[in-house]
Assembly symmetry: C2
Homo-oligomer: 210 residues x 2
């Protein structure tokens, strides 16, 4: 097993990593769409999992829409503190974007008990009550995606954008497909894979494209 | 694509997920060591990536050692806020364990500039200065693992345990092998894969075993 370290400065590591990802995608015969490439490569960078070259679904013109929303300072709401903590705070502040997570709020906990649902789903209702355009960044809870679907379907709320990449084995695949079917602008990791790290990585990729 | 949701309560999802992981491991002919099983399954649960059934390295008796350390309230230091935010705070407090991340500390930023290294590596020095046994939980920065190696090799500090699962393409594989070679008690994801989510998942698996 190789233990000799490559002589790169810490600050060159990301650039070199992205080059390696490009080379290996090329070697397996995958050419990425230029517009989506930064998002896909950052998901691979966050996981070292090349499945993200093929499992990410992008709704029509979603990159362009996402960049406009972020330029306009649209608020971000995440389902977990982990996703929130992975989003680059300097990039957010540079563009005057606020990012929220409500999972530890007392009213959210109470609402989850009252409605016999998860706190992640109750967070969605709290975001809707903000009465402002929202970008949802969901890396963990399929119940959050299901709640977004219900509110949209009931004509109650249409999110500006959903980055929907929960990971898991129960109701995750289905919840993602429900969002895709709505036509809401979205970036979704089809299948089981995803996670708070992937959610933050996609969000950061969009912020870095501004 | 299946969109009909399974009728499980949110609280049954984790149990059902773990059953599915067991079934699928069985189907591909993998039998896990009973002691390591909770750690491996939680890494798979966090990523939906079955590679973790085969890429996790456990030093001798490391599960038993880790559980003793946690029972004794040994402090945890992470390399990222994301890893820290993924560790279950109720489980920590139940066992009187403190978990730290120093990445945003001013002295760490200054030390990183002064020593021409990453803030993640400077965090290791700050942890060592605590002069107490430390469990390192590293999900992102190979430079943090390299710093742990240097300090150990120089006879300056021996960590109680290293959960070393950074993800990446440059110096990640090598940094992990360096730690394995030291003989420090460790759990390491060999190869490129890992991440803050995997680091937190392994830490939580150990906490839940107490």
């Amino acid at each position: 097993m190789k233990t000799e370290l490559e002589n790169v400065t810490p600050y060159e590591i990301e650039k070199r990593s992205m080059e390696i990802i490009s080379q290996e995608l090329c070697a397996i015969g995958i050419t990425l769409d230029k517009e989506k490439e930064p998002v896909i490569k950052r998901a691979i960078h966050a996981s070292a999992d090349f499945d993200y070259a093929q499992n990410l679904y992008f709704s029509e013109n979603v990159i362009q829409k996402a960049l406009e929303l972020l330029k306009n300072g649209t608020s971000i709401v995440t389902d977990t503190k982990m996703a929130l903590s992975g989003i680059n705070k300097k990039a957010l502040s540079r563009h005057g974007i606020k990012a929220y997570n409500f999972i530890d709020d007392e009213d959210v906990a109470a609402s989850a008990v009252w409605n016999n649902t998860t706190r992640s789903a109750a967070c969605i209702d709290k975001a809707v009550a903000m009465d402002t355009p929202v970008i949802f960044v969901i890396g963990n809870a399929p119940t959050a995606l299901v709640r977004i679907y219900e509110l949209y379907n009931g004509g109650i709320f249409k999110p500006a954008l959903v980055i929907g990449v929960p990971v898991g084995f129960v109701n995750v695949v289905q919840a993602k497909e429900l969002i895709i079917q709505t036509g809401i602008p979205c970036i979704i990791s089809r299948g089981r894979k995803g996670g708070s790290n992937i959610a933050a990585a996609i969000c950061n990729a969009l912020l870095y494209m501004l």
